[in-house]
Structure formats: structure tokens, C-alpha cells
Amino acid sequence: MPVFKHPQILIASNLTDGEVVFLGSSGWERDHRRARVARKAEEATALEALGKRDISANRVVDVYLADVEIGSDGAPTPLHYREKMRVKGPSVRLDLGKQAGEGAL
């Protein structure tokens, strides 16, 4: 098992429209700030188990844990630039994607 270094959130793509979603406390959220944060390895494993369940339930695909840091407001922000992009949308089209308030579940 990989070493647990940072808090983590579970990230996935919604099956029907491909939108990026995050596992929250009551289901999948499209806003990463509402993601449930795993602060310990066991919590991350629990998130992954929920992810597997929802893969089997054909709700999401491409599910994985992403490292985050927690801001002063308590909301998680991804650490890696790839996931930083995924929570916003294309950096060359600021008028599209989550950063433009698009998408809904």
C-alpha cells in the first residue's frame, strides 16, 4: 500500500456525461470543496471502497485518490497540477467547465 503522506479525496468521472466528480459525505459532488477528506490511511481505504461500490453500480468510472491540502476554510485543494486542472476546466478556455460554473449532476 502506498505511504499515506497527505490528506486525500476521491475523484472520478460521472458515467453518463463524463463530468469530474468528487465523493462527498452524501454522494458524488461536482464541487471539490464539498469532497470528503481522508486524513488517515484507513479513511482513504474506506473512500476507495465506496468508489468501488459506485463503479459496480455503474455511476462513475476512472476512480482514484488525489492528494490535497486543506485551506484555512477547511476546503481541500488538490496538490498536483493535473488535479488542479480537473477541478477547474481547461486553462485555455476559462469560459468553460467548472471554473465557469458549468455542469450539474
Binding site: S13, L15, T16, D17, G18, E19, V20, I55, A57, N58, V61, D62, H80, Y81, R82, M85, R86, G89, P90, S91, V92, R93, L96, G97
Partner: protein, 574 residues
Amino acid sequence: MTAVDLRVAQRPNAPMTTYRYDEYDAAFVSERVAEFREQVNRRLSGALTEEEFRPFRLMNGLYLQLHAYMLRVAIPYGTLTARQMRRLADIADKWDKGYGHFTTRQNLQYNWPKLVDTPDILESLADVEMHAIQTSGNCIRNVTADHFAGVAPDEIEDPRPTAEFLRQWSSLHSEFSFLPRKFKIAVTGAAHDRAAILVHDIGLRIVKNDTGEIGYQVVVGGGLGRSPFIGKVVGDFVPREDLLAFLEAILRVYNRFGRRDNKYKARVKILVHEKGIDEIRAAVEAEFAAMDRSAFAHDPEEFERIAAFFAPPPYESLPATSALLRAAKLETPAFANFVDVNVGAHKIPGYAIVTVSLKPIGGVPGDATSAQMRVLADASERFGFGELRVSHEQNIILPHVKQDDLFALWSMLDAAGLATANAGLVSDIISCPGLDYCSLATARSIPIAQAISKRFSDMSRQRRIGKLGVKISGCINACGHHHVGAIGILGLEKKGQESYQITLGGDPTFSASIGEILGPGVTAEQVPDVVEHLVDYYLAEREEGEAFIDTWRRIGHARFKDVLRREGEDGADI
């Protein structure tokens, strides 16, 4: 009636010069759409798992990307009718976000389709004889061709009948839908290679032998990606009647020896590289001699039937040069620049080939809005027999424009933001989607292209620099052809940051070469500086008539490396 008249009579608004589906093709495509609709339904109901569904969606050009699904639509041999272009625009508006991305594989990619909508999109495409088949997966991918096919003055024969002939042959061969890896074929019929045939799995060059007979020089084992290779000649002159059998022999040798154990090694280029071209040639020749070739006999009638679809449009007889054009150039310098840079010679007197750049300064290379697609469709109908081409440089070509009409066309394009006069210049950058869209990316590529384009926004400076291919990929898969850029840029990840490796000396034409690494990776901010220094160095060193690549070849890589090293000493951390 001639073949063209017949088609016009049968179909109002008929495309003049592209392949028209017959009943078989139409049935095949609509069956595939129905089949995919069923597969999507079964996926949504949970009857298919993602693992089971994935190969089906890839076979239909549907990928899952960073922010959404992505649908890749084939534009076989890059030829498109006005009606098809309008349909692409309509789909962008109805099911996507009002734009599309033209790629180096002569495809169009939609970046935001919903899974639930894709069967409807495919149906809408099928209605205008388009599809997304063979745009992904380990099959023979859509065959690409010179985008100046049929109109270039340096052409021996239009490569598109060959490309279409091969497309039909490969679509029919289900055993080749499960090759060890994907397989890409490109065809050119011209003296200059605009189709990058030396970096495809198989490249075909139409040639004439001493007796004037037409045949093919067959090149095998080219490719980019993780291990770039220039293709090698496996057949110097393959007569047309032997072409299918010869390609079949290559595929059999590949299927027999190709490595399926390791996906990075499964490409034909690796086989050619590991065994050597002599051994491969011997194996192909032996297979060719031994096989029952009757099943692959050339069908001249079928070839002629296909070729008739590419018959030239009804050109007028015109003087070779246009007084109107000359006058308009004198009057409007911006137009004169456009003509000098984006307009090429046509084989028919009085006509011209127009490249419409999809690389406005600071824009996203290859992107077109639905409104722009409609302008292009209208322009092609008003000025170019309703035909368009997509080039692997991610631009649109209007292949038959009367010189007399160039000014009116330019005015129309200019009003739609489509008259950037940079074809082939430093800001005509090939860029893959990179980390702005692509889930495989290790770094962004579009913003790098934009930054370089802005750095060279002075168009007169660009013209002074001359032909220069800058090509950018966002990961080692090399979709942006960086290996064959005179200046190639590869986005990588280094210590959690985006980092860019620069190569020099790549060339995608008959004089093909793979670029050499300049030095350690640089940051995104440094890329435009480095490119500018390299360009300035070339300008200082170049001799009369030399393009960047020529100067680089003459004075050598080391001298250019010194430029970067010196810059590092000047304080930049590179």
C-alpha cells in the same frame, strides 16, 4: 453525362469531389450506429461493465478525457464537403460547446459530448456520410492523404482514390481490427511530402517507373511516440495490381512477428527496427511470393469507380494569372501578405489553393467555432465547389479558388477572424490538446503554443523568419509531432512541475529526420525566450535562401546547444 454531371443530377447540393457512400457503406455505418446505441444502453443499464464497454466506445471514437468524454470524428483523407462541415458545426452547437478541434490525424474532436448523446451524434454524422470508426483502437486507422491532393502542381496522381480503396479494404477485413497495435497509413502522390508518410506505419508514395507505369513506393516502420523512427523502403516499385497483396503480405509478417507481449513494442516500427529492414523486406517478399494472391487481386473497375468520385470539378478555362488579383494586392497590403503566405499554386491555370489558418495569434491551434465552420462551409460553396480539406498542420484548405475571387474570399475570412497570414510560419504551430483536455498528458501544450505565437505576433518578423515548423506534444505519445518539428517541444513532469524538453532538427517530409534534444528541460515561462533565442541565432547565421532547418543542418546542433547554454549562464535557470 460525365461522372460528375451524373452525381450533380442525382443529388442537389452534392459534393463534387469526394467519395460518395454506396448502399453497402451506408448500411455498414448505420448498422454500426445502431449497434453502438445498443451498447450505450446496455452500459447505462449496467448490463455492460466499463471494462466490457471500453473497447466498444473506443471503436466508435469515444474517449474519456480529463473534464469530459471526447469524440473523435474521422475525416477520411482530410476531404470534407460544405454540407459535412455545416453538420460538424450543428453537432458542436447541439451536443457540444460550440466548437471543435481539428487534429493532425485529419480528425475532428469534440471535447464535451455526453455519453448518453453519442449515439445521436453518430447518427447525425452518418446522415452526412461521416463516422468515428477506425479513429481509435488497434485497427488500421483512417488513411490520411496529402491535403493538396488532386490540385497540387507537383502531383503524379491524386492519392485519394488509393486512400479510399485502402479504407474500404481495411474496413472489410475484420481480422485486422485486432492487430497487435494501431496501424496508420498515409498516401501521397506528389513530389513534396505533405502527408508525413515517412512517420507512418505504412507510407505510400505514388511513383512512375521508366515506362510511365504508375506504382507505389512502399515505406514501412515509421512512427513517432515513445520510440520515433523514420520509415524504411520495403518496396521500391509495387505495381498497382499488386498493392493489396503486398500490403497484406506486410500485415501478415507483422501479425506473425509483431510483439503482443508489450504494448510499447508492438508497433510495426519496433519490428522493423529490431529485425532490420532487409530481413523484413525478405520476409514480405517471401510471403508475397508464397501467398494466394487471387483474393487480393486488383479490381480495376472498382478502382475506377472510386477514382470517378474524385474527378476534378468543372473548372473554367482561365488565364494563368489574374489582373484583378494583382490590382487587389497592390491596393491592400494585408491581402497581399495573405496571398504571399497562405495561397499556393494550383495545377489548373487561374486557380489557387488557399490555406485557412486555424492559428490566430494567441489562439488555440486547430480550434474552430461553429460560426467559423459555417463561414468556411459558405466560403467553400461560394468560391470553391463546396469542397474543404483538413491538413495535418491543423488548418483548413479551400482547394479550388479562382484567383479572381481571392480578394472576396479573403474579405469574408477576415471578417470571421480566419485570415491569419501565417501558414508554415513560426506561429503556425501544431499542438496536441495536452493537459488542458487529455488524460494522458504530463504537461500542457496549448498555452505554450499561445505564448510562442504571441511572442512572434509581429507578422513582418514572422515573414522574415520564414518557414519554421514548431510542434508541441503534451506527453511522449507525440500526438503533436514534436519529433519532426524543426523546433519540437515535449511537455513532461519534473519534480511535480510542468517541464519542457526542446528538440531541434526534426523534419516530416521526404528528407525526414527526428529532432535532437537541445538540453535540460525548461519551464513553461522560459519556452518562448528559448525559442526566440534560437530563432535570433538562426537569423544571424543563415545564408541566402536557408530555412531554419537548413541552417541547423549546415552549422550543426552543437552551435545551437551553445545558445541555450549561454542563456543559462546569463542567469536563467535552465
